[in-house]
């Protein structure tokens, strides 16, 4: 397993592109993405549509922004060897918190954003502390927190609630040229996470803890703090996604997170991007590729008007096949 690491060609320069191409798992997903785009272009052409039309490209970005933001948070958690199954309910919760506090008034927007960030950071803190202090496996800990949030949502809400002022809806619908604001937000979150992982001490520690927590601890890393930090960051990402979805819906909805399947889908996107589920290997670039892959697949389905159940089947096959090919490459490399 360690052999490929030694054999890896060390890039001579230090340029951004060289660094990106050194991230091999991410390269695989971009090759797959390129192939899928060619396939999509062909299928669109046969179907009488234009794949590279502005409408379609904007649509792909719109659809992938929320999942993309959640998946970036999920990447951090998975890299540190943990997991977060609570993001879907947290997204619903934060969308409601945002819409309820805004209550349709412009003046309340800053307060609502602050509240959402506080609620999500707190949830992440709770997740992280349960995992580290109480030593509950992240799978069970975050599942439990998800159930708690679900109970609170079921108790208080039957349907959409609150209201988002028009000024805040710009976040969900406006665009700068061919780039929707939501996609720019996604890019900003991604860039922050990339900087965090590649340039900061915390980033290196995340890889160290995910690679081997015991070795990291013996090398003087306070592993518990790192795990708590990634859980907080992941939940904050979910909170940002909640804000985005609230601005799109114009209200908060108790089912917006679970309907999107953001918990399992974000994990799927991370793993598609070549990040190891056990932690310690991978990165943000791969995750962005994984999310785009899912979104392009979706846009092809929409163009061909594929039945939504067939979509699930194809998605499942793609997920397993991609991972199988990836595992094969890693072994033969």
């Amino acid at each position: 397993m360690t052999q490929p690491l030694k054999l890896r060609r060390v890039p001579a320069g230090n340029s951004f592109l060289r660094r990106l191409s050194a991230d091999r798992p991410a390269r695989a997903v971009y090759v797959a993405l390129a192939l899928l785009i060619v396939l999509g272009w062909l299928l669109f052409a046969l179907d009488g549509g234009r794949f590279l039309s502005q409408e379609n490209i904007v649509g792909i970005q719109q659809r992938s922004a929320a999942l993309g933001i959640v998946a970036i948070g999920q990447t951090l958690v998975i890299l540190a060897g943990s997991l977060d199954l609570s993001v879907a309910y947290l997204i619903s919760l934060t969308s409601l918190v945002a819409a309820e506090i805004m209550a349709g008034a412009d003046a309340n927007v800053p307060a609502a954003v602050a509240a959402v960030l506080a609620v999500s950071a707190l949830t992440g803190l709770v997740n992280g502390l349960i995992v580290t202090r109480l030593r509950v496996h992240a799978f069970i800990a975050t599942l439990g927190v998800a159930l708690i949030i679900r109970g609170a949502l079921d108790e208080r809400y039957d349907g959409p609630a609150g209201g988002v002022p028009e000024s805040f809806q710009h976040l969900g619908y406006d665009r700068v040229g061919p780039f929707p604001v939501s996609a720019l937000l996604w890019a900003a979150v991604g860039a922050c996470a990339w900087l965090l992982l590649s340039r900061t001490r915390l980033g290196y520690r995340i890889y160290a803890v995910g690679g081997d927590a015991e070795v990291a601890r013996l090398s003087g890393v306070r592993t518990e703090r790192v795990v708590v930090a990634v859980h907080v960051l992941c939940s904050v990402c979910a909170g940002i996604a909640g804000l985005l979805l609230a601005s799109r819906l114009g209200a908060g909805a108790p089912t917006v997170g679970t309907d999107g399947g953001y918990d399992l889908e974000s994990i799927a996107a991370v793993v598609l991007g070549g990040t190891a589920l056990a932690g310690g290997r991978g990165g943000v670039a791969g995750t962005v590729g994984g999310v785009l892959l899912l979104a392009v697949l979706d846009s092809i389905f929409n163009q061909l008007e594929v039945n939504s159940f067939a979509k699930d089947v194809v998605r499942g096959v793609v997920l397993v096949a991609a991972l199988a090919i990836h595992a094969r490459r890693r072994r033969t490399a």
Binding site: F139, I140, V313, V320, A324
Partner: protein, 310 residues
């Protein structure tokens, strides 16, 4: 066994609490009704235990249960004659899905979390694609007898549960069980000592698939046909297994404790209902209790790990 003790204490406590709120609960009819209600989850938990103790996950059981019930309804369509062949088919389908999960996980080296997530998507999509969006057809009364009916005073599902439990305990005491635990604890060491790791793990996935088929047969009879019948069961089964003190990641825990975990979860639901905490707050209370139970169970962990170290 020391590791499994807490779950039996918790289970006993919950049963006493239920009995205090409802004195009839401990009389045979009411208690058998409780066991009958718990049977599908207990069987699923037993199946999930085999996968978890071998170091893997099976997220596909919930949608497998839904798929099996929907397939049964569509194929039987109310006819008594079709009942037995379809029952046989369901068992075969369960084992087959388990075989696919196992082969993809072991031979293609896809993490089981992803393999079974893929199976989940494929199964739920394929079944509704086939039936056109909603379950169609109906189960025959003979089919439903297994989930609803009883032999004398004892429900069929309780008898099936006892048989499944006996088989599971026997399997874990036999050589298979030992190699399974060894695989989950350290698959490299197990492989070097001659365990065919891929084969053992695939067998574990097949057992989980089979248990999902049996649970589906009972649930179909008990609750009838719906598209939601298996929803969330995978998480409930995994939770039950972990409540029983079985370590995620494999190699530790007993199947009896895993089944006790499932009973505990069901007793918890019953208790919450009795005290009127039904519906909305139920998941929240469940979440708190699951975290608390696992946290309490984990307190002993460092000591036992230190003892295991050379």
């Amino acid at each position: 066994m020391r590791r499994a003790l807490p779950i039996f204490v918790v289970l006993a406590g919950l049963l006493v609490a239920i009995a205090i709120a409802n004195p009839y609960f401990l009389e045979p009819p009411a208690f058998l009704a409780f066991v009958k209600r718990a049977a599908p989850l207990v069987i699923l938990a037993a199946g999930q235990y085999f996968v978890i103790v071998s170091g893997e996950f099976d997220l596909s059981v919930g949608s497998l249960v839904t798929a099996e019930v929907v397939i049964a309804a569509r194929l039987i369509d109310g006819s008594a004659a079709a009942t037995w062949p379809v029952l046989g088919l369901l068992i075969v389908v369960g084992a087959l899905i388990g075989l696919v999960n196992g082969i993809v996980t072991t031979l293609l080296r896809v993490p089981s979390f992803i393999t079974t997530l893929g199976t989940l998507l494929i199964l739920s999509g394929a079944v509704f694609l086939w039936t056109g969006g909603a379950p169609r057809g109906a189960l025959s009364p003979q089919f439903r007898e297994l989930g609803r009916g009883s032999l004398g005073p004892v429900p069929w599902s309780v008898l099936i549960l006892v048989a499944v439990a006996a088989a599971a305990i026997y399997a874990m005491r036999a050589g298979f069980g030992h190699t399974l635990v060894a695989t989950g604890d350290n698959d490299r060491a197990a492989a070097l000592s001659g365990v065919r790791v891929a084969r053992v793990r695939t067998a574990a996935f097949m057992i989980s698939g089979l248990s999902a088929a049996v649970a589906a047969i009972l649930l179909g009879g008990f609750a009838g046909v719906s598209a939601q019948v298996g929803q969330g069961l995978e998480f409930q089964a995994i939770t039950a297994v972990v409540l029983g003190g079985v370590a995620l990641g494999g190699g530790r825990g007993s199947v009896v404790a895993a089944m006790a975990g499932a009973f505990t979860l069901e007793a918890l639901f019953t208790l919450l209902n009795l005290y009127g905490i039904s519906g909305a707050l139920e998941p929240a209370v469940q979440g708190v209790i699951i975290i608390a139970a696992v946290a309490l169970g984990a307190v002993n962990l460092p000591r036992s790990r230190a003892a295991a170290a050379p």
